[in-house]
Symmetry: C2
């Protein structure tokens, strides 16, 4: 495993890997190559997304997913009751706010029944941590959402910026959050999203410290990933988007900013969670910030 | 003329235009379109590059050229004696330092004898201001370089970032220097260029104040102009490249940086002048910083 991704707190431990070997005989030997897909993204020794999801399903991995399964698309999750008008409104919200909510796939029911993102995945269990929202408030966080899942659900999968972490690292841009085993810092901004029906609120952004000399490269790389929030919405000037305390993120972990670095802000898939709160949606399940759904889809595949 | 380009100090005055009309009957009516070229870059009422060069040749225009002839390639100039070994070294220097010195054309003798950049142009007079360097020192600045021109000369034309000003303005990114009728601020950096023969020294950069929210767009637009220094070498952090006094540029004019803006630094065609000084080249003529050679070539045409 590349040292960039070998992190003290969110990398599977040897005992977790041992568990996986017992639970899935032969799984570690399989690779995407056997399915005829490109496997350039798969690092030697790294788990395949399927293996990783099984580790998550068995709750042997419950941490943020930054740095996991490098080279594969990671997704934010929003689950609504199909009969709630918020379901239509939310789809429209994604359409109108594509940088914050690049919609990858919509799944009806809890099981993914085709191979567009991850055939056979169970959205109720295959994410490390979930948030349960009721009447515009965070009710609880759980590692298994089965007991809360609506009978008739619609699940929105939204591209996550972790998707291009591999491309950034390959391009020579290290990622401090993953290196330090931390979640990324995320902030509410003053950037208003376009309203959709009953849904309104401001964009949430994630922050990466990037060397001032690497900013152009960071933009050129992330421009290739419009399905994962694309280029930064703001560079070098937190106050320009209403962020006044870099050390005090609204979600995730605070992270060091060095003298030769600038804070680079990308639209973030936690935006829907802020919107659900702001708009007092009756009921919703989301991933917990930083704890993503890891798909079988390669990062570079646009949608 | 677009207000972005209508500037108090470096826009031709009505009397200058009147002079041009007398000197070049019918010139203002001609356009690039009549030569079968695209003329989408030519603004209604703006001078063609040919008209502008004639205004310069007659010394009715002696100011910085930022904002002039929007949509056309502007070039830095370096003239050396063909028999000086520095001529070969400088060509190699350009090859090795393409971001600072994107070489567009090499002209032997003072007259441009083909239409690759500007057929019939006289490099001794068609630039608003020149610097004369001798033994690694700036000897003088002149508006007509004829008396100093080497008998056997080789002139290097190097793409200038003014080239993409039009694209930035069209993309919704205003340029304060041109708006305020100022030259751009330029700075020595601690970024070492690759050496070539006897030539060595550090990169010079120009600075634009860009809204933090527009940085990604600025990078994506300038990425299309590798022949004019391309993307920024540094964003938002002057000290990362050894610049400690933004208000005190080494060339050009100081410029306001607002609260929601960051300084964006691009490699600059004044780099050769710094190199010629540092390397104590025996004799050279260059353009004066900001006073460019305006070509007939459209900005978007890569080289």
């Amino acid at each position: 495993m590349n040292p960039q991704y070998g992190t003290p707190t969110n990398t599977p431990t040897p005992s977790q890997l041992q568990h996986l070997k017992l639970a899935l005989p032969g799984a570690l030997a399989r690779s995407q190559a056997s399915k005829g897909k490109k496997n350039n993204a798969a690092r030697a020794g790294a788990l395949t997304p399927l293996q990783f999801r099984h580790l998550v399903r068995s709750k042997h991995f419950t941490k943020p997913t930054n740095g996991q399964c490098p080279g594969y698309l990671q997704c934010n999750l929003v689950v609504l009751d199909k009969h709630d008008t918020a379901a239509f409104d939310f789809m429209l919200f994604c359409q109108r706010n594509r940088q914050a909510c690049p919609l990858i796939e919509v799944v009806e029911g809890p099981i993914v029944d085709n191979d567009f993102v991850a055939e056979g995945a169970d959205l109720r269990t295959d994410i490390p941590k979930y948030c349960i929202y009721r009447d515009g408030k965070l009710e609880t966080e759980v590692e298994d959402a089965t007991d809360y899942w609506p009978e008739e659900s619609v699940a929105f999968l939204i591209g996550c910026s972790f998707t291009y972490d591999e491309a950034l690292v390959s391009g020579g841009i290290p990622l401090r959050s993953a290196e330090e085993g931390k979640n990324v810092p995320m902030y509410r901004t003053n950037i208003a999203c376009r309203e959709a029906g009953s849904l309104r609120g401001n964009m949430v952004v994630s922050m990466k410290p990037i060397k001032a000399r690497d900013v152009a490269k960071e933009v050129e790389i992330t421009a290739k990933f419009p399905h994962a929030h694309g280029t930064p919405v703001c560079v070098g000037c937190p106050q320009a988007i209403g962020i006044h305390e870099l050390d005090n993120p609204d979600w995730g972990d605070s992270i060091e900013l060095r003298d030769d670095e600038v804070p680079v802000f990308h639209a973030c898939g936690v935006t829907p969670q802020s919107i659900l709160l702001e708009s007092k949606v009756k009921f919703a399940i989301t991933h917990a910030a930083g704890h993503m759904f890891v798909t079988d889809r390669l990062s570079e595949e646009t949608v």
